[in-house]
Amino acid sequence: MNQFYLFFRIFIFPGFLFLLVIALFLHWLDRKLIARFQGRVGPPWYQPVADLVKLFAKEDILPSGTNLFFAALLPLTSFASVLTASFYLPIAIQSAPSFQGDFIVLMFLLSIPSLLYFLAGWITGGVYSVIGGNRALLQYFSYEVLFLLAMSGTAIASGSWSLADIRLAQIKEGPYIFPQIAGFLLSLAGLIGKLKREPYDIPKAKSEVIAGALTEFSGKKLALWYLTIHLQTMVGLSFLIHCYFSGFWQMNTISGFFIFLLLLIILQGVLSAISAIYARLRIDQLIHLNWHIFIPIALLHNIFILLI
């Protein structure tokens, strides 16, 4: 009985299947919203599932000379790291006991896929993959730092590096979104940079490097890369909601779950709107924007939080 319960919690709810359903739903919402912003009809609700099914049926072929063991290991490891990250994050249901420092562990687990993306570009070779991978690494160095700095504002304000303590502090003092609106916007920018969405999608810019580091992948490996990106979006957004909006609902209740889902949908809508209105930035403009504008504001913001 206990094992069946464990199996249910790990694979069905709030485990693997549940996360997958919500991640695919958020991906569909993103595509549908962007389509409606542009005046098009947009894909039907089963499109992400259909894409994954199609990818699983395709032939898996890589350039000769690629180390096949690592080419299979990289997508699996990135998928596994994002799933482990979701394990620590309470998605309106307490799943794992929180400990001091799990904020940093979550941040680290969420950043592993970007590093592996760069490695995937290197091992498959080819001009487009290498250029895409290099750009991804440059973006990784900048926007991970921004994400960590901006999100640390909440940890500093609550006084501990544990997710449960951040939540408890927000229940006492009110959600952190209102005093730390600048930090929220900066961490949103950092999240867009991490996820390589428009306007920061220069590593996988279709008009220059075709598909960046993933150019040579196909079939099941590409399906795993796409699943990683979808899950990373969902876990990143849940992380943001947990750190900034936690005072709004009760844990372990149905209403809490629905409020959480609503907040996810709203934030995904904000992400889609940002993707629709900006052109893709060049890599030097990206770096300039990050290090000359965003990081100083984040530093000042954190100092301000420390002093208050």
Binding site: L33, F37, Q38, G39, R40, V41, G42, I277, Y278
Partner: protein, 129 residues
Amino acid sequence: MNKLILKLRSFFYLLPNITEALFSKPETIAYPAVSHRPSESYRGSVRIIAENCVGCGLCVRDCPAAALSLEKVSKGCFRLDHYRDRCTSCGQCEMSCKFNSIYLDNLYKEASADRVDFFEVLVDKTKKK
């Protein structure tokens, strides 16, 4: 004041446009679930009014894609073939015909998996009455 608003809006210029587009009807249709009708003057497939055709061959001579061919047995006894896969729907045959026989309608859905479907005998007057 207007200049200031414009300067502020330049950071996210398209935001009002996308909110307006979100709440209006989309410009595309979900084809083929929703059907599409082209206009009346659209140049589609070649059709014939067989009674009017006398086998003069003006359409065959002027077709730029060699999509029509005339096989004459004797006066009044001929067969007019049409190769649909070569036709570009330009309408020169309709213009050249002096007897109001060949014309273009606005049908355009003509996909087929078999090459045989694209060869059409337009007029067959080979049998002596």
